[in-house]
């Protein structure tokens, strides 16, 4: 499975990477904003996307909107510090499969992946 971790923080990307089960670590790429996510998507490099919401250039909401417009076949797990109930609702409305609140833990990531049937 092709995995993409999108977050403007390198520390946060490393924390997500460290939280992944071994079975998902064979093909992992990283992006710093939504624009890079869309480039990777158009290059056929994304099956599973871990997406932050607060990013420069193109934020997570805009990325979800762009993926939705293209009817993208990508499973999106939002990992964000934006824990407002309306923000969570909006990401699900835009097609995200799961939401994990920061600071991210391996347990929360695994749980989300089980719930959405990736593991």
């Amino acid at each position: 499975m092709k995995v993409l971790i999108a977050d403007d923080s390198s520390m946060s990307r490393k924390m997500v990477l460290r939280s992944l089960p071994e079975s998902l670590t064979e093909d992992v790429r990283q992006a710093c904003n939504g624009s890079e996510v869309m480039e990777a998507y158009h290059a056929g490099q994304v099956d599973l996307l871990f997406l932050d919401l607060t990013m420069p250039v193109m934020d997570g909401f805009q990325t979800l909107e762009a993926l939705k417009r293209e009817d993208a076949n990508v499973v999106v797990v939002v990992i964000s510090a934006d824990i407002q109930p309306l923000a969570r609702q909006r990401v699900f409305d835009l097609g995200a499969a799961a939401f994990v609140a920061k600071p991210v833990t391996a347990e929360a990531v695994l749980n989300a992946l089980h719930v959405i049937g990736v593991l």
């Binding site: 520390m11 924390m15 510090a81 934006d82 824990i83 109930p85 309306l86 920061k102």
Partner: protein
Amino acid sequence: METLAELTEDQRDALQELMNIAMGQAAERLALLTNTMVTLSVPFIHPLIREQNNLAIPEHLRRSFMIVTRQSFLGELRGEVFVCFGSMGADELAELLGYKGGGLAQQDELMLDVTNILTGACISGLARQVATQVSYDAPSILVHREQEANALDELNLNEHLAMVLEIRFEVQAHQFSCDLLICITERTAGVVVRAIDRLLDEL
């Protein structure tokens, strides 16, 4: 010397992420208060020189705000938070919260309540992540819409600053916005730096 002005790129990135998490908690509080959705900015970090002990309000805020509040936090992590409300801030916030026909005193009280909520959530969120505890002084109004904004030029903080973190909160579909300037003193900046280093070592 442990000053926030000398952060490496990784340390700066980590601090920005810690603040991102803290401001997420503050946004949730504000969203619950206003029953709407709050838009978060990417936090901006201004490193300050060691000797600097007055607050340089960014020019873009200086042009737009009308009310500035301040609140100190104390403990192992020490500093002050300044909340800059835009010209529409008080009126919009009063409307969002259902206050009608309130006088200036009521609006001031509202600003102070919001200052307390945002400061408490942001600083407690940061303190929790760096494994320390803080207490707070009561918030107060520093500059009022009827006063000259140059009162800020005369502002002299009691302790040397190491860092200002700038965060913007906007309430979607309304004209309400406010900017938080979080000032951390140079004397206590090491608490943050050491916590960041521990986090980075674990990765």
